[in-house]
Amino acid sequence: MKIDAGKLVALLIWKAVRWFILNMPDRLLASVFRGLRRLAWVVTGDDQLRSVITEVVEIFEDGPKYTDTVRMMLREADPDYSSDVLRGALKI
């Protein structure tokens, strides 16, 4: 059986991210993303990446006004399609 490694990785990342966001509270997720932002900056020094993660942090800090929509979309998302989107974003 031929395994598409990129698709598998993307699907696993997708499932993990989805589980976390659907099951963890906004404040904890904001903290996690703040930590990820710091790590990403140390590892890559990429300003643009830091800006994007900052936007994600702000969404979780602002709470249900935005996160209700995020969770609704994650619940409705088709796993195959979503992992394709992620795969394209990660270029894997």
Binding site: V52, E55, V56, E58, I59, D62, Y66, T69, V70, M72, M73, L74, R75, E76, A77, D78, Y81, S82, D84, V85, R87, G88, A89
Partner: protein
């Protein structure tokens, strides 16, 4: 009026483009900027050479030096802001879509009429130079009697960065007034369908949803009041389709079919392929039009200048409030058609 002093309410992403025509018009002065984010308000003031900034749009409307306002806020704020602007005696240009429902649209039209101020619905597609040329060719009879318009909208990846919070309110139907594809972006497509071939008689639509909130893929069909003319609009999403473009990665291809010819407009917002923006086929020959401005930003520039020209010349803007209302009815007909599985007439839409 010899010069129009303009106040801009909303300094978000799209203001980068809406401002272009105002900055270039010799009889327009961008006097004031308003944004709830002070950093944004100050940055736009500096960038546009404006004299003053506000954090509350009502303070901008109280400014006696301002003649007209450009409203670039989220859709649910269009109605209260237009009503307040009219009450303050300011001419108004409000970004498409006009409102979140038909009732609001009617109230906005009435308020501006009662106050004696102009209302423009800022729609840039009808100022996109290749579309304008296509309309000119149709009016010259180059394709004979028009028969159908086929609009293809594909979404890909690439383009400019839009803040994530902006995307989130645009997929929230309560905030946006409808879906991001067929209502928000679709206002453009509905505008050109009506502008090219006239009022819409009846609509039949099928819509599927991606991520539960994005109204695409979809297939929308309609008949124009001129019963010989039909329309089709297909939307799709391609998550790994790389697209060249400075703005949103929307692949728009429009085909206009007539009794003796066909016109293709091959792009608008983004540029999928390096081919001419406009091609005419008739009498066995293709004519290519490649010598015109074809950047999406040009359409914003020309629409903004049109608002100023209309104010100076005392004529109706494109789009007028009534045009905006007709498009809200078109959208509602599409929504009711896919929601109920029926053929629906826009004229029957009242809410």
């Amino acid at each position: 009026m010899e010069k129009i002093r303009l106040g801009v309410i909303g300094g978000g992403r799209i203001s980068d483009l809406n401002i272009l025509g105002y900055l270039s018009h010799p009889k327009c002065e961008v006097l004031a900027v308003c944004d709830i984010n002070e950093d944004v308000a100050r940055a736009r003031k500096a960038e546009w050479g404006a004299d003053r900034h506000y954090l509350d749009y009502r303070e901008l409307l109280d400014d006696k030096d301002i003649d007209a306002v450009e409203i670039l806020s989220p859709h649910r704020l269009h109605h209260p802001m237009v009503l307040d602007a009219a009450a303050a005696g300011k001419h108004v240009s409000v970004q498409k879509p006009m409102s979140i429902d038909i009732r609001e649209a009617r109230q906005m039209i009435d308020a501006c009429k009662d106050a004696g101020v102009m209302l423009k619905v800022f729609e840039n597609f009808v100022f996109y130079p290749p579309y304008c040329k296509a309309k000119e060719l149709i009016e010259q009879g180059q394709i004979g009697e028009p028969l159908s318009i086929n609009i293809n909208l594909g979404a890909g990846v690439g383009g400019w960065w839009v803040p994530l919070k902006t995307w989130l309110w645009r997929v929230n139907w309560d905030e946006c007034g409808g879906g991001p594809t067929i209502f928000d972006d679709g206002f453009h497509k509905m505008s050109i369908a009506r502008w090219f071939f006239g009022e819409i008689e009846t609509v039949k639509a099928w819509v599927d949803f991606t991520f539960g909130a994005i109204d695409s893929p979809a297939m929308i069909t309609w008949r124009h009041k001129n019963a010989d003319r039909l329309g089709v609009w297909e939307t799709s999403m391609s998550p790994n389709l790389q697209m060249s473009g400075k703005y949103y990665t929307a692949d728009e291809r429009v085909e206009l079919v007539g009794t003796k010819g066909v016109i293709w407009v091959t792009r608008c917002t983004a540029k999928l392929m390096e081919i001419p923006p406009l091609i005419l086929y008739r009498d066995g020959c293709s004519t290519v039009f490649d010598d015109m401005r074809d950047d999406w930003g040009d359409s914003f520039h020309d629409s903004g200048r049109d608002f100023i020209d209309c104010l100076l010349e005392g004529r109706q803007p494109l789009l007028s409030g009534e045009d905006g209302l007709a498009l809200m009815q078109f959208w509602k007909a599409i929504y009711n058609s896919f929601d109920q599985g029926l053929e629906v007439r826009p004229d029957d839409m009242t809410e």
